[in-house]
């Protein structure tokens, strides 16, 4: 027994986790999940200090948790694109916006699209596309957008891809703002539908006040997505992505169809982005173009990179830190973007591999650092 603990002590957390017996892992995971579901009600000192609603100007704790989880879904999706396939996508907010807008456009009675359908097919004024059908619409729309953006641009090299995707994000936002007849322009769309549920206290189950229900819904979706993403990472597709990320030419020589798999990464990433946007739009019950500025794209990329790209846990950590910390320290609200900029530079310079990189990624960085040092020593 003491031998085993001695062996354990030398290992990193990840190794210990991997070496633990299956039932132990399941038990710990269940505990973590149960704790995550309990979080909105966390009120035991001193742990309660992590709540964001302690000060007068503080924001609703469950709402913050919801946003954290939505951004975690985003980070998991973007991690597929940036972390696994190595494609720099600066327009991810475009897919997020598409998801939010598709549920608003088809599900809200205030949307010009729904109104046009009502008058065309003679539906009553209360009619709109049901929420359950809005979900596949949002997924299909962001998936199609991902393929449409990817197909012409994925042959470009990294930096070109960055600027083209950045442009794509802007195009989506400007379109949403300018197409008054379809999206209500800058006014936005109100009355975005919520998931169906029983009425409690005269309010529908998913309403704007009881944010913890939204949080539980998003958390459930996140857990499902993490499970699927992990399966994907260890699949043939996942290995193809890693090969492309490391060296596209070498991967092509070994028979990995670069374009096809890059398109896959783009499409999967876009779908998850759209899903996150759908949750966001539905919870807000209101979408407007200003919620989808390019800066949000930078924030998304920063989450993945600060957390440690290529590692789902890292992406989750990055999303948590960059969403939660600014909310917790709201009293410095004026200085948040400033601090965010400083933090980006500082973290990247001190720890370019991210806070929790995947092990393979960390080794690559170590290699590169040695190479750079050797080159400097030679010069």
């Amino acid at each position: 027994m003491s031998q085993i603990t001695a062996a354990y002590r030398g290992l990193r957390l990840g190794d210990r986790w991997g070496g633990a017996p299956q039932p132990v892992r399941w038990f710990v995971m269940l505990l973590v999940i149960a704790f995550a579901f309990y979080l909105p009600y966390l009120n035991v000192l001193p742990f309660a200090y992590i709540r964001t609603d302690l000060t007068a100007s503080g924001s609703d704790w469950a709402s913050v948790l919801f946003l954290v989880v939505v951004y975690m879904i985003v980070a998991v999706g973007l991690n597929v694109v940036i972390g696994l396939a190595g494609l720099l996508d600066l327009g991810y907010v475009g897919f997020y916006a598409l998801g939010a807008y598709s549920v608003a456009l088809f599900g809200s009675t205030n949307s010009p699209v729904v109104q046009a359908m009502q008058s065309k097919f003679g539906f009553s004024e209360e009619w709109a596309v049901p929420f359950a059908i809005c979900i596949p619409i949002a997924i299909v729309m962001s998936l199609v957008a991902g393929v449409l953006l990817g197909a012409p641009t994925l042959r470009l090299r990294g930096d070109y891809l960055a600027i083209v995707t950045l442009g794509f994000g802007e195009i989506i936002r400007i379109t949403a703002r300018n197409l008054d007849d379809v999206t209500n322009g800058a006014t936005g769309i109100i009355g975005v539908p919520v998931p169906p549920g029983p009425e409690i206290d005269g309010r529908s189950f998913f309403n704007t006040i009881d944010a913890e229900r939204w949080y539980w819904l998003a958390l459930t979706i996140l857990i499902l997505i993490i499970f699927l993403a992990r399966r994907l990472e260890n699949s043939r597709v996942g290995r193809a992505w890693l090969a492309i990320r490391e060296d596209e030419d070498a991967a092509a020589v070994m028979g990995v169809a670069g374009f096809k798999f890059k398109l896959w990464a783009f499409a999967i990433g876009a779908t998850l982005g759209g899903l996150a946007g759908l949750l966001f739009g539905s919870k807000q019950q209101y979408v407007e173009p200003n919620a989808f500025m390019v800066q949000l794209s930078f924030l998304f990329v920063a989450m993945v990179v600060i957390g440690g790209s290529g590692n789902i846990f890292g992406a989750l950590l990055g999303a948590f830190l960059l969403t939660y910390l600014p909310e917790r320290f709201r009293e410095f609200v004026d200085w948040r973007p400033f601090a965010f900029g400083v933090a980006l530079v500082a973290v990247m310079i001190l720890r370019p591999q991210g806070l929790a990189p995947s092990r393979r990624r960390a080794r690559e960085f170590e290699d590169r650092r040695h190479e750079a040092e050797e080159a400097a020593a030679d010069a």
Binding site: D159, N178, G341, V345, R369, A372, A375, A376
Partner: protein, 323 residues
């Protein structure tokens, strides 16, 4: 679609497009040179331009320059503002290089990390000026657009016969100023000893360092030159539009980068071609359709050009330019 509006005002629109494009082109130089030498997008370059516009405003405020001064004073104030803006922008660019890029170069970090620190620097600069605005103007959302005195008053300088197009002095200054600066830079890179170093590093950093080129110095030079050009662009921009704002750099930077990519990033002459092309396309498209879609046109043009010419109109060639 309104092609009549375009045709009837073709001369005016072309002049508009060239003016706008000249400024894009000058800012694009900073992107293209840094990309040529380091293969990275300097995301903070848009804020280098922004600092330049504030330097112009600061200079005018300090020396008390206003509209309606004598001709000699106007020239003196403009030249002084130009110099200050070039210095401020070059200094900012150099500081960004030192703080955000050099430590990473030492660690051999991959390009994505440079991009993130660039974005971080850009945010810090934007926020610094945003906070200064709040401090001075005090409103709760005091991040206002600030007017810059139009020291150089707009007058019709001459009329192009035949098309009857009135050309103002400010436009002549912008177009001539931008083209002169670009030619000067092009000559510097192609003819001087330092410029040869820049081209050498762009072509092959390892061989260049074996041949005794100091790579660090070349990188500093590139940032200083690119920053100075952004400073010139900042002055010309304030001459044309008389305003600045804490986040003014963002959209100009985006356009300038698009221009650099259009022309072929890493190619100085490409920046000129790309800038003018983008400026003219934007103005034409805004005349035909609607000006609120301007940014969409810019990106659509970018995607279309890249689909058919993945290395831009003139191709990448800072390293291959012949002396």
């Amino acid at each position: 679609m309104d092609f009549d509006a375009l045709i009837s005002g073709l001369d005016r629109h072309t002049l508009d497009g060239i003016t706008r494009g000249s400024i894009y082109a000058l800012v694009a130089l900073g992107y293209t040179m840094v990309y040529g030498v380091m293969k990275l997008i300097n995301f903070a370059h848009s804020e280098v331009f922004m600092v330049g516009t504030w330097a112009v405003l600061g200079t005018y405020t300090v020396i008390g320059a206003t509209a309606g001064m004598g001709a000699g004073m106007v020239i003196a104030a403009t030249v002084l503002a130009l110099l200050v803006a070039m210095l401020a922008s070059a200094g900012t660019a150099l500081a960004v290089e030192r703080i955000a890029y050099r430590p990473l170069r030492k660690k051999g970090a991959p390009p994505l990390i440079f991009l993130i620190t660039g974005i971080g620097c850009s945010m810090v600069l934007v926020e610094t000026f945003g906070q200064l605005l709040r401090f001075f103007f005090g409103q709760p959302f005091g991040r206002v657009t600030v007017n810059i005195p139009s020291v150089l008053e707009t007058k019709t300088l001459f009329t192009i016969p035949g098309v009857d197009l009135a050309v103002s002095n400010t436009r002549v200054l912008i177009i001539v100023g931008a083209i002169v600066m670009m030619l000067a830079l092009d000559t510097f890179v192609n003819k001087s000893r330092l410029g040869r170093g820049v081209r050498a590093v762009a072509q092959d950093p390892d061989t260049a360092s074996l041949m005794g080129v100091n790579q660090e110095r070349v990188i500093m030079l590139v940032f200083v030159l690119g920053g100075a050009m952004a400073g010139v662009a900042a002055l010309l921009y304030t001459v044309q539009y008389d305003i600045t704002k804490f986040d003014i750099g963002f959209i100009i930077g985006l356009k300038a980068f698009t221009a650099a990519v259009l022309g072929g990033i890493g190619n100085l002459r490409g920046a000129l071609v790309g800038g003018l092309f983008l400026g003219i396309v934007e103005v034409y498209a805004s005349a035909i359709w609607d000006s609120s879609w301007t940014n969409v046109y810019a990106f659509v043009v970018l995607v279309v050009v890249l689909m058919f010419r993945p290395t831009g109109l003139l191709g990448e060639s800072l390293g291959k330019a012949r002396a």
